[in-house]
Symmetry: C2
Subunit: 175 residues, 2 copies
């Protein structure tokens, strides 16, 4: 049996729905018995609903929140970079492990945008990954080389957003 | 205690990710203990992964596939219209029941596009819904009046798609 080549899917753009679509992808994969790993690079200050729910889904899903407590506005830039690099090393190990059918790298693009890692390294790692592994990458400002290596890229465009009308983030909706 | 006004979220556009984001929203809501109902207006020819997985999530989630077996290309147009109208009546009952915190109307927009129902009726029903109910609507070609009534609208734009390179729909990825 030849293994199908895994796909690289990117959800980018300034609109809402990137992480949400990635978790929808997790749900879909789990429904078909796939083994899933999620690495979150930035989120993690609150308990998001999707992370709470995913735990009850299956023992085939892991979620790792690696960005907990750090912010791009932190005073200690060196610490931010250290945490981000650790997260990236962790994600690479997961990518190469052969233990998963789907790996979600949630908000990975910011590490490239903030020049913590180089896009060429991301591309190189993606090319060397196990053949059957599907990868979902989310975040704004995806770089051209990443688009080149991706099989599918969807840009989420904000058409209308209630935050602009003074509504604040809602539990169950935004997190 | 005053109940928070529920939101109307729309995921539209020609790119992949609309239904996926809606199911991510379901996952998020379930994580916070919300009661969820999904009505699918078109999908349902295969067992999609998200529908399989949602069943194991919680007894607070219902998925109703109302478009099973019908297609817009069917020879019997009257039957298509009948099934679609039944689905819409069903969805309206769910909307008004007060039994849910989140209602997903997956691919509802096609009923407006194909002039089976009028957008003004959708707007009217949304405005009369129970105060706390959040609604997610997906589908291409969302009409201006629906955008007007929505709190959030994200357009999924296709930047790149592997189907164009001859790759076919994959289990766990597209369904």
């Amino acid at each position: 049996m030849t293994q199908e080549q895994g796909l690289v899917l990117i959800y980018t753009g300034n609109g809402k729905g990137k992480t949400t679509a990635a978790f929808g992808q997790v749900l879909r994969a789990v429904g078909h018995g796939m083994r899933v790993c999620v690495v979150q690079f930035i989120k993690g200050e609150w308990s998001t609903g999707e992370v709470l729910a995913v735990g009850s889904l299956s023992d085939k899903v892991e979620v790792h929140i690696k960005g907990s407590g750090f912010t791009w506005l932190a005073e200690d830039k060196q610490e931010v970079v250290r945490v981000a690099l650790d997260a990236w090393e962790f994600a690479k190990e997961k990518m190469m492990s052969g233990d998963y059918d789907l790996l979600v790298l949630d908000e990975l693009t910011y590490l490239v945008t903030y020049e913590i890692i180089d896009q060429s390294e991301v591309v190189e790692v993606l090319k060397k990954r196990p053949a059957g592994l599907n990868v979902v990458i989310t975040g704004r400002g995806v770089s051209p080389a990443l688009i080149e290596v991706a099989d599918l890229v969807t840009e989420m465009m904000e058409v209308k957003h209630h935050f602009r009308n003074g509504v604040t983030a809602r539990k169950g909706i935004e997190f």
